[in-house]
Subunit: 219 residues, 2 copies
C-alpha cells in the first residue's frame, strides 16, 4: 500500500497573524515544518505529501518552498475552522488504497524509527496511534480541590496517527463534534478499535515559547 | 519560617548497582544532584539541606562532596525500602516550624522561579505542589483496547512539593500504603487539601537514558 501524509500546519500562532506561526519559524536556519517533513522523506522519499496551511500564511509558505525542494506531487491545501476540517480538506486529496499518516507540523522531533513502526503497525491493523506512559503522578482537579488518579492505565497520545485510507475517509464523513480533538477520536466513533504503539517521550509538540526553546536545543 | 529541603537521591539505577545511578552522573562535569541542589541554594543559601542516599553509594557521594562545597549544616541519611521510608528518614532530621520541600535529585532543571513560587505558596496555604496541564490527548487502556479521557481536569504532578513541617510530620506517622507514590498522596490521606500551583513543563525527571540525554542538552 502506498504511503501518504497529511501535515497539519494550519495554526496561526498565538498573536493572530502579528507574528509568524511556530511551524514556519527557523531552527538552525531551517523552518520547523521542513525539519518535520524531512523525517518522513527519510522514511519514504516517495510518500504522497499533503500540507494543510492557513491561507493567510500562503506567502510565508511560498517563500519557504522557494528555498527547499519537496518531492514531486506534493500538494498544498487550505485549512478549515477546526483541526477536523483541516484534516478533512487534506483527505480530499488522498487517493484510495493507501496508508495515511496525519502529523502536526510542530512536532519536528519525531524519529524516523517511530514513523517506520507506526506505518508498519497500521499496515497490519488498519490503524496505529503512538502513545506514551505517564511517569508523573496524576491528579484530577474538582470543585473541592484535587484527587489522585491511577496513572498506570493512562496514555498520552501523539502523532503521526496512521490509518488505512478507507477507514479514515469513512470516519471523516461524520458531522464535526467538539470531542474530535484528534484523528483517533474521529475514527473510534465509527466503531474501530484504536491500536496504540509505543511513542517517543521527546516527540514534543511546539505550542509555547518554552517548547520552541527546548526543541531548538534538542533538534 | 525557616526553609528546609529533603533531596531524595536513594535510587540505585536500573542495573542494581552495576552502574552509577543517574543522580550521580555528570553533566558538563558536574553531578546531576549538584546541579539540582545549586538551584535551591540560589533560592535560599541558608536552606536546611537533608540528602537521602542509598548506603551502597556512600562512597560515590563522599567522592562528590570532596569536590563541591555544600552549605554548613547539611546532613546525609540513608534511604529506606520505598520512597515513603526515605522521606520519613529525612524528615527525622527536620526541626519544628519550618517549610519542608521534598525534591527528586534527578530533576536538575527545576527553575529558581518555580522553587520561590512553591515555597511562597506553601507559606500561605500550608502546602504547595507543582502541577502542569496535559497538552496531549489522553487515553485509558482497558481489556478491549482504549478509550478517550477528558484531559482538561487532569494535571501531571512534579516536585518540589512543599509542606509545613507539622503537617508533613503528622502525615508520615501513617503506616505505609502502596498508593503513597508521592508526598501529596501521603498528606492528603490525613484530610489536608492539596494546593496545586503551576509547574514548569521542562522540570524533567531523569528516569531513562533518553531523559538524561535530553537534560544534558537542556541544562
Amino acid at each position: 500500500m502506498k504511503n501518504a501524509l497529511i501535515i497539519v500546519a494550519g495554526g496561526i500562532g498565538k498573536r493572530m497573524g502579528t507574528t509568524i506561526p511556530k511551524q514556519f519559524l527557523r531552527i538552525h536556519d531551517k523552518p520547523v515544518i521542513i525539519h518535520t517533513i524531512e523525517k518522513f522523506l527519510l522514511f519514504d522519499p516517495k510518500i504522497k505529501l499533503i500540507i494543510v496551511i492557513n491561507p493567510d500564511f500562503k506567502k510565508v509558505w511560498d517563500n519557504i518552498i522557494n528555498q527547499y525542494s519537496l518531492p514531486a506531487g506534493y500538494e498544498v491545501i487550505s485549512g478549515g475552522d477546526k483541526r477536523f476540517h483541516s484534516v478533512k480538506n487534506g483527505l480530499s486529496l488522498i487517493e484510495e488504497n493507501c496508508l495515511v499518516g496525519i502529523h502536526d507540523a510542530v512536532r519536528p522531533l519525531v524519529s524516523v524509527e517511530s514513523i517506520f513502526k507506526i506505518y508498519s503497525h497500521a499496515a497490519v491493523h488498519g490503524n496505529a496511534v503512538p502513545a506514551i506512559t505517564v511517569k508523573e503522578s496524576v491528579r484530577e482537579i474538582n470543585n473541592s480541590g484535587s484527587k489522585i488518579v491511577d496513572r498506570t492505565s493512562l496514555r498520552l497520545i501523539q502523532t503521526p496517527q496512521v490509518f488505512r485510507s478507507d477507514i479514515l475517509k469513512k470516519a471523516y464523513e461524520q458531522e464535526y463534534k467538539d470531542e474530535f480533538t484528534d484523528d483517533a477520536n474521529v475514527v473510534e466513533k465509527t466503531g474501530i478499535i484504536i491500536h496504540l504503539v509505543p511513542g517517543d517521550p521527546y516527540n514534543i509538540k511546539i505550542t509555547g515559547k518554552e517548547d520552541f526553546d527546548a526543541v531548538k536545543k534538542l533538534i
